[in-house]
């Protein structure tokens, strides 16, 4: 894979890969929670983008619901492309989610009164709690904030030109 042609530069610093991985997983969890993804969705998109070979290790782990703590640089880049692709495909649904959040917040209504958001928040929270270690557990409010930020981030990643800006936010 010629990353230069896709402009996913610069190369991330090795000590930053763990942080990058965590940020990427937030988007992965957000997409899975919103789309009720099955693990083969990732496989299909990876295959569609010709990234199966790079992501084979990660896909295997995802099937077993266990995730490694740190991706390598190529896996991280590949995951950026897959997330952006999936977000672009589901932009309408992401918009609807953000729209509902805005409406309910304006009306001072609890977010979980709407099925879409309730399922999303619950799904995100479960995945996130499962991923992070016990000693760094977050409160429900904190996870809700994180879930909402991740949902809004997905909206921006749904733009066709988003892989490069997404990558830059990770490595800079």
């Amino acid at each position: 894979m010629n990353w230069q042609l896709l402009d996913l530069q610069p190369e991330p610093q090795t000590d930053k890969l763990e942080t990058i991985t965590r940020q990427l997983y937030q988007s992965v969890f957000a997409l899975e929670a919103l789309l009720e993804n099955s693990s083969d969705t990732w496989e299909k998109v990876a295959e569609h983008l010709n990234l199966t070979s790079v992501l084979s290790g990660w896909l295997q782990q995802r099937n077993q619901s266990s995730l490694q703590s740190s991706l390598n640089a190529d896996e991280a880049r590949s995951l950026v492309l897959v997330i952006c692709h999936l977000a672009g495909q589901n932009q309408a649904l992401i918009r609807r989610g953000v729209n509902l959040v805005e409406q309910l917040t304006q009306q001072n209504q609890p977010l979980n009164q709407v099925t879409l958001l309730r399922d999303y928040l619950l799904g995100f929270s479960q995945r996130y709690q499962q991923y992070i270690s016990l000693d760094s557990r977050l409160s429900t409010e904190q996870i809700t904030s994180l879930a909402l930020k991740s949902l809004i981030d997905l909206l921006f990643y749904s733009h066709p030109n988003s892989p490069k800006p997404f990558w830059l936010t990770l490595v800079q």
Binding site: Q4, L5, Q9, V101, L138, Q142, F156, H159
Partner: protein, 486 residues
């Protein structure tokens, strides 16, 4: 007037621009007087709350840049427990800027774009910010594909150029045939008067070369020995005549390579070898004798007649310059008649400027003839020569342009310009390539980029990397300019 509209769900961006008539006729997309109107017309809000802002191209670009930078910052900022979400670095600016209001909302401060003094900021939701950024990015990307107004090369239309060139060529051809016939049929002394007489419009009408020119060169030459007052003329002319006939169409080649030593363009008489240099020089020296050539001499007179070697005994010092037809787009400036000693240079003035320096027998008509030749449709190579810019801010821009001029040729199927943003390391090597727009992404593999890590331009003066935008046009032109210095 051209209007382009971008209509994401919560705002409408409308851009209007004028297209110059020259560009329209050329089929080029050149825009001027770009204006935009941005309407925040979120259908979830009552119409009374809709806000419109207007501005020009620069303000549009500023707004786009500020919004996009803010979005980048927003995406980068993590949500931290017990800390009010705040996107850093955007609150101290005085003009257009944004400020976050939690994760969901943002304040857009309009600065110089504010429609009224009472309305200086707009409260945007996350969806509105996304739509605004999307519309601005799409619009600015599209605008960047359109070359700046200044790049229109010349107001003369290609069609008019072609027509004029054909007319001039026909005139030159007719005149040439006439002269050759005259030379053959009335040898020796008469030739001088023949050449001096201007070719009248009636001559130009003659559409085809006289048949005897092609069919019987030898019979006409045979009677030559009888008159013979001027000894050298018959001998020099007769061997050349056959070669003249083999080149029936002395239309100058459309391609004028930039060879400095090639013969002057206005000599469409091919193959008249013996005194070729002298042909060009003739106008210079016999100032007293040849100057009387009528100023109204039409274009057909521009090519020196084959009989002119008779007129000129040759000893003239060959002025170094007129032989060199320098650059194609330039106009040949012949040395003035009166003072051949003055240094003569091949200047490259614009065609309008050439008239005042116009010398002797090449006359106004012949220069216009030359000018027309120069305005013929250009080849890729000739176009690329125009792409050089005196305004390159750093030498690396020129070097990047040179690289693509040497390494890129447009595929025939290419219909739109390709744009790439190249980020260069300080050592002159390529760091990254960003295709601008979908066509550029699709054609990425077809463009030969320099290898990464290896310097392909000279080392940068400054310590920070630079970005250079390269525009590859379907007609083969290559444009490059500095985007940012870091």
């Amino acid at each position: 007037m051209i209007t382009q509209r971008y209509t994401p769900p919560t705002c409408t961006l409308e851009v209007t621009a004028k297209q110059p008539w020259q560009a329209k006729l050329r089929g080029e997309s050149v825009l001027e007087e770009v204006q935009f109107q941005l309407s925040f017309d979120d259908p979830r809000r009552p119409k009374e709350e809709y806000i419109n802002i207007r501005g020009d191209r620069h303000q549009l670009q500023d707004l786009s840049e500020v919004v996009h930078r803010y979005v980048q910052q927003f995406l980068k900022t993590p949500v931290q427990p017990n800390v009010i979400f705040q996107v850093p670095g955007s609150s101290s600016e005085t003009d257009i800027h944004l400020k976050s209001d939690g994760v969901l909302y943002h304040h857009l401060f309009l600065g110089s774009l504010a429609p009224q003094t009472t309305l200086s900021e707009i409260h945007l939701s996350a969806l509105q910010l996304f739509d605004l950024d999307t519309a601005l990015q799409d619009c600015v990307t599209k605008l960047a594909e359109v070359p700046p107004r200044e790049t229109i090369p010349s107001p003369i239309l290609p069609l008019a150029r072609t027509v004029l060139t054909v007319l001039v060529s026909i005139g030159a051809l007719t005149g040439l045939i006439k002269l050759i016939n005259a030379t053959r049929q009335e040898p020796t002394p008469v030739v001088t008067t023949e050449t001096a007489t201007p070719v009248t419009p009636a001559d130009e009408v003659v559409p085809l070369p006289p048949p005897n020119l092609l069919s019987s060169p030898e019979p006409t030459l045979k009677p030559l020995p009888t008159p013979t007052p001027t000894p050298p003329a018959p001998e020099t002319l007769s061997p050349d005549l056959p070669s003249v006939t083999t080149a029936p169409l002395p239309i100058p080649s459309p391609i004028f390579p930039n060879t400095a030593n090639s013969a002057p363009a206005p000599t469409p008489i091919p193959e008249v070898t013996p005194g070729q240099n002298e042909f060009v020089i003739i106008p210079n020296e016999p100032a007293p004798s040849s100057s009387p050539v009528t100023p109204s001499q039409p274009a057909a007179a521009a090519p020196p007649s084959p009989s002119q070697p008779n007129l000129v005994p040759t000893p003239t010092p060959i002025p170094s310059v007129p032989v060199a037809v320098g650059q194609i787009p330039s106009v040949i400036q012949l040395p003035p008649l009166q003072n051949p000693g003055t240094p003569v240079a091949v200047n490259t003035p614009p065609p309008e400027a050439e008239t005042d320096t116009q010398p002797e027998d090449s006359s106004a008509e012949s220069t216009s003839y030359l000018a027309q030749l120069n305005k013929r449709p250009q080849t890729i190579a000739a176009r690329r020569e125009e792409d050089t810019s005196l305004f390159d801010q750093i030498p690396q821009v020129t070097e990047v342009r040179n690289y693509f001029q040497q390494n890129w040729y447009p595929p025939k199927s290419l219909k739109r310009s390709l744009q790439y943003s190249l980020q260069l390391n300080t050592d002159g090597s390529l760091q990254s390539i960003t295709p601008i727009g979908q066509p550029s992404v699709n054609r990425l593999q077809q463009v030969e980029f320099p290898p990464t890590g290896e310097p392909f331009v000279s080392r940068l003066q400054q310590e920070k990397p630079v970005k250079i935008r390269v525009i590859l046009q379907p007609n083969g032109r290559v444009q490059a300019f500095l985007e940012t210095l870091n």
